[in-house]
Symmetry: C2
Subunit: 217 residues, 2 copies
């Protein structure tokens, strides 16, 4: 939802984004190879996106929460290069991209907003590249948890206690680690009093020390 729009501009944008749909857990929002027609804005709940590679490898590329946008990678190829799956019951708005382009030609603030969203995705990817290329397992997991914490917090939930919607395998796929390493690292954090981990229920006990982990190598 772009800021800085006048009432009438906002109205036109709302009209474009009116087709909201509910998805149940595990349901696909789009699949690899689908024709690219729309971006998808998460309005409630959360989804994950996954890239399937030729050689059978799969990788999770994002965990998206309300207010975030999915599908930007497909603009370049006209079909989706990854697939998006609901991690819990959720609400997703479909934004027909050609209409979005049309409207953003008329509303400079919307245009700028769209560009910022795409650029933010590039910055986010770069920070993941840095995580993958130079952090150790403990740093990666700490960074991951702090990122979730911050995003939960921004949405009015507790930054200290939350439930993970993904498996150890999925966390590992996202962080470039094997599931056993993820599990062991959770255990280490718990032993050191940084977290309380009850399988998927996470409570951050010592936020400062967890922060000090990231970028300490």
């Amino acid at each position: 939802m772009p800021a800085n729009l006048s009432a009438s501009e906002m109205e036109r944008f709302e009209a474009l984004s009116s087709s909201k749909r509910s998805y149940s857990t595990g349901e696909y929002v789009y699949r690899t190879g689908d024709r690219f027609l729309s971006l998808y804005a998460i309005r409630g709940g959360s989804i994950k996106t996954r890239v399937l590679h030729e050689d059978g490898r799969e990788q999770l590329t994002s965990f998206l929460m309300s207010g975030e946008i999915s599908g930007l990678d497909a603009i370049s190829t006209d079909f989706h290069t990854c697939e998006a799956v609901a991690m819990e019951p959720c609400e997703v708005c479909e934004l027909p991209f050609s209409k979005l382009e049309e409207l953003s030609r008329e509303i400079p603030n919307l245009q700028r907003h769209l560009h910022k969203i795409m650029s933010r995705e590039i910055v986010r990817d770069q920070s993941i590249m840095m995580l993958l290329s130079s952090m150790r397992a403990e740093e990666r997991l700490a960074a991951f948890l702090l990122n979730l914490s911050q995003r939960f917090s921004a949405r009015g939930y507790s930054p200290n206690a939350f439930r993970l919607l993904m498996t150890r395998h999925e966390i590992g796929s996202y962080l470039g680690l094997k599931l056993e390493t993820v599990s062991r690292t959770f255990s280490h954090f718990q032993e050191h009093g940084l977290l309380s981990v009850k399988v998927r229920e996470i409570e951050i006990m010592d936020m400062l020390r967890l922060r000090s982990f990231v970028g300490s190598t």
Copy 2:
């Protein structure tokens, strides 16, 4: 240089991209923290971009050649989050972003082109994330060399023989490896008859076998 523009549209775009400048090796095109005003289009030669992190870590995020665009990450923050340095004498066009936005509001094909460029960057980043998270040293270096080969080839140079403009340290920084590992992996490839490596001069002796390395784990 966008395709599908009419002669007059092309003319207007040319006007916008007319401020070409030469850079000598090692010269900065922009620095971290610089106000974001323009994108930069490489017209000849090549540049590298580098992110400097708070904790002193640095990472190379791209090696760009003619026809490629730099600076997309800065749109979201209004200042550059990385720095760009010439790797050899080169020619770079400055594209004032606000003018680019203005023009792309009037020329849908230009707008679409800009969106595709940004999206392509996202796709590129995702493939690097996959490289970093799931490939071993040999696969990473093979993928890197094949990527360079393909891009040289697309520009009319030999796909089999080329000169690296970067140090082992920089390759390592880009691929998430230490320079010694990069060096050793080059040596392995040479021992196995895949490459001839004379420090920075690379000749690919067995393209097929090199390809079969990528995605073989």
